[in-house]
């Protein structure tokens, strides 16, 4: 589903290279965890996959379902099924949450040549999904993410993911700022989306989230490269021994 080949990328504004020859393959149905110390390029990778303009790809390619997505803007990538659950969801005053959800759903459907949802159908979907995620309906009446607690913001991200039904889900430190109950709810939300034709990339610092969202593969990112890949036992190793050993071996 996703093939990243020798990717090099830098911050557009000052030219700082963050990703330095990254290779990664994620198959349909797979849950891949990406771990790594601070500053290794994890969040940058998620932004680059989503198409954020602040980063420039200087070398290599990203293939999604066999096609390069480098020339697509963020909205096209989203409509093709790539979804990034943000580490820090953005507050947008003045944009009503329900209106935002409806526009996003329908714009994606339009892009794919599908019929727009009727209002009752839309509302039914939102109600069902938000009930599963234990989201208070009052939250949806507020402007997008405005005044949401950290946990509410993360749940709202998963709600968007559930509604948009992407094929490639990227979770950027979705566990940060969540208490254990909220973590379980969010993990259940993600697990409910696991399917043979959907891939999930979980970016995290900690093993904790991976107890709830059990990965098929684990990749360690360091200085913009994947320096070690393995199965879920690699995450346990890291938890026990830290990154030092692996980094030492790689260097």
């Amino acid at each position: 589903m996703l093939e990243i080949k020798n990717l090099h990328a830098r911050i557009a504004e000052d030219g700082t290279e963050i990703i330095r020859g990254l290779n990664l393959t994620v198959k349909a149905g797979e849950v891949a965890a990406i771990m790594g110390p601070n500053g290794s390029g994890k969040s940058t990778l998620s932004y680059i996959l989503s198409g954020r303009e602040d980063y420039e790809v200087t070398e290599g390619d990203i293939l999604y379902n066999g096609e390069s997505i480098l020339e697509l803007d963020p909205s096209e990538r989203a409509a093709k099924g790539i979804f990034l659950a943000f580490q820090y969801p953005v507050e947008i005053p003045g944009v009503a949450t329900m209106q935002f959800l409806k526009v996003a759903l329908n714009e994606q459907r339009k892009y794919r040549g599908e019929e727009e949802l009727t209002t009752p159908d839309f509302i039914r979907r939102v109600k069902e999904a938000s009930a599963r995620l234990q989201i208070n309906p009052d939250m949806l009446k507020r402007p997008l993410n405005v005044g949401f607690s950290g946990g509410e913001k993360k749940r709202a991200e998963i709600l968007q993911m559930a509604l948009l039904e992407p094929s490639l889900c990227i979770l950027d430190e979705t566990d940060s700022g969540l208490d254990i109950d909220a973590l379980k709810i969010v993990a259940d939300g993600v697990n409910a989306l696991r399917s043979p034709d959907r891939a999930v990339i979980v970016i995290t610092h900690y093993q904790r989230l991976l107890e709830y969202i059990v990965p098929d593969t684990v990749h360690v990112l360091y200085k913009g490269q994947v320096i070690r890949s393995g199965d879920k036992s690699l995450a346990l190793d890291l938890e026990a021994n830290g990154y030092a050993d692996i980094i030492g071996t790689a260097a």
């Binding site: 947008i92 996003a104 714009e107």
Partner: protein
């Protein structure tokens, strides 16, 4: 004052002076009204329309900008439209002619034309100062309007819509309104045009908000792209009184809306929210002065501007705090979204503070859309153009949402969305 030799009159000035001569026999009023009109017209004639050398008109050189004025057109025809909010009480002024019908019990309404005829109105027809071009033009030509009184302790269950529809020519109207003590009302002053023909509309509203009254007044200006609109609203705020004024400009070619107020009762509160949606080659000026004349009064003004094309916008805001007006709390903000390199906005905030124990602040910003907001919306599959539109809408909808009436909010947001769709 500038020392000037006799001015050479511009086309517009000549047209106004000539129109006065031809209209004179037809303008309502007794002797006192007539001499008040004469005085105003004479001042206009001797001093001409204000230029940029007059401080309060510095960014809106009326003499240069008002290139021509359409002739009075007594044959112009227009019809009223449905009120903005269902079930509102509607009073219409169609092409300058007011009609009183369907006024619910408890509101006293009189045609202003009648007050001119019997001379009661003569005292109103004075200029605010030597820079009061709107007062002069309006006072010289005023023909009709409404004199409205909401008695004390009266709460209007439904909004009162004052609907001014202009199809062509000129109209000059006045709205003296008294809100009695502890009254409560929502008033919508709505200006519409029915076609593309140029027009000149002037409107002067004089509000007295008595002690404890709680009033929302919305000026919704949606005139045509070749219309000139000169508006002035004056208010006097009594003790414990609240006035929320919304000024929404979404039309017109040359627009000047003046707001002049004084707080004369303690613990009164004034709130102004402005939305200027500016496009094409229009020029729109909102000029505001507020005198905090007594202690313990508060005011907040927030103006949001969105500019497209070659539009020009102006906001002048002056807050004066009198020497004994201690504990005044006054804040003013003007935020502008410039969406075209050829558009231009001038903001001039002024604080004149003569008391020492007050809180006053002002801020003016010119911004572009927040790139992080834009990215977030796009990352959910919303194409850039649509995402931009949503953010521009959000920038002004935030202001509208401060209103209490859900139906009113919805209708205003629809008007804003339609305007933005047309111009973006």
């Amino acid at each position: 004052m500038n020392i000037q030799t006799a001015i050479t009159m511009t086309t517009a000035e000549t047209a106004l002076v000539d129109a006065y001569t031809t209209q004179l026999g037809d303008l309502p009023g007794d002797g006192a009204v007539l001499s008040a009109r004469d005085a105003l017209l004479n001042a206009l004639k001797t001093e001409g329309l204000p230029t940029r050398r007059i401080e309060s008109w510095h960014y809106t050189d009326l003499r240069a900008l008002l290139r021509s004025v359409p002739a009075f057109d007594s044959t112009a025809f227009a019809e009223g439209v449905d009120p903005l909010v269902e079930d509102s009480t509607v009073l219409r002024i169609i092409n300058g002619k007011a009609s009183v019908s369907g006024v619910p019990d408890g509101i006293h309404v009189r045609r202003y034309g009648d007050s001119l005829v019997d001379g009661v109105a003569a005292a109103d027809l004075v200029e605010r100062g030597s820079d009061d071009a709107i007062g002069r033009i309006n006072g010289a030509f005023v023909r009709d309007g409404f004199e409205i009184e909401i008695p004390e302790d009266t709460e209007l269950a439904r909004p009162l819509e004052l609907q001014l529809v202009q199809s062509a020519g000129q109209s000059h109207s006045r709205l003296p309104v008294t809100f009695g003590a502890n009254s409560k009302a929502v008033v919508i002053e709505r200006h519409l045009s029915t076609n593309d023909a140029p027009s000149l509309v002037s409107i002067v509203s004089d509000l007295i908000v008595d002690d404890g009254a709680d009033i929302t007044w919305i000026i919704l200006q949606q005139q045509g792209a070749s219309d000139n609109h000169l508006g002035q609203i004056n208010f006097d705020l009594g003790a414990d009184a609240k006035l929320k004024l919304f000024v929404i400009n979404a039309g017109g070619k040359l627009v000047r809306q003046e707001v002049h107020g004084v707080t004369t009762g303690e613990d009164s509160d004034f709130q102004m929210r402005g939305i200027n949606l500016l496009g094409g080659d229009s020029h729109t000026d909102v000029t505001f002065t507020l005198g905090h004349d007594v202690p313990n009064t508060t005011s907040i003004e927030v103006i949001r501007n969105v500019l497209f094309d070659r539009a020009k916008g102006v906001f002048q805001g002056q807050i004066r705090v009198a020497p004994d007006a201690q504990k005044t709390d006054a804040r003013m903000a003007c935020n502008t979204l410039l969406l075209s390199d050829d558009a231009d906005f001038s903001a001039k905030p002024e604080l004149e503070i003569f008391a020492d124990d007050v809180q006053c602040g002002h801020g003016a910003t010119v911004i572009d859309l927040n790139p992080t907001h834009l990215y977030y919306l796009q990352a959910r599959g919303i194409p850039e153009g649509k995402a931009r539109g949503m953010l521009v809408n959000a920038f002004v909808d935030e202001i509208v949402e401060e209103l209490e009436d859900e139906a009113l909010i919805e209708h205003l947001e629809t008007i804003i969305a339609a305007w933005l769709d047309k111009h973006a």
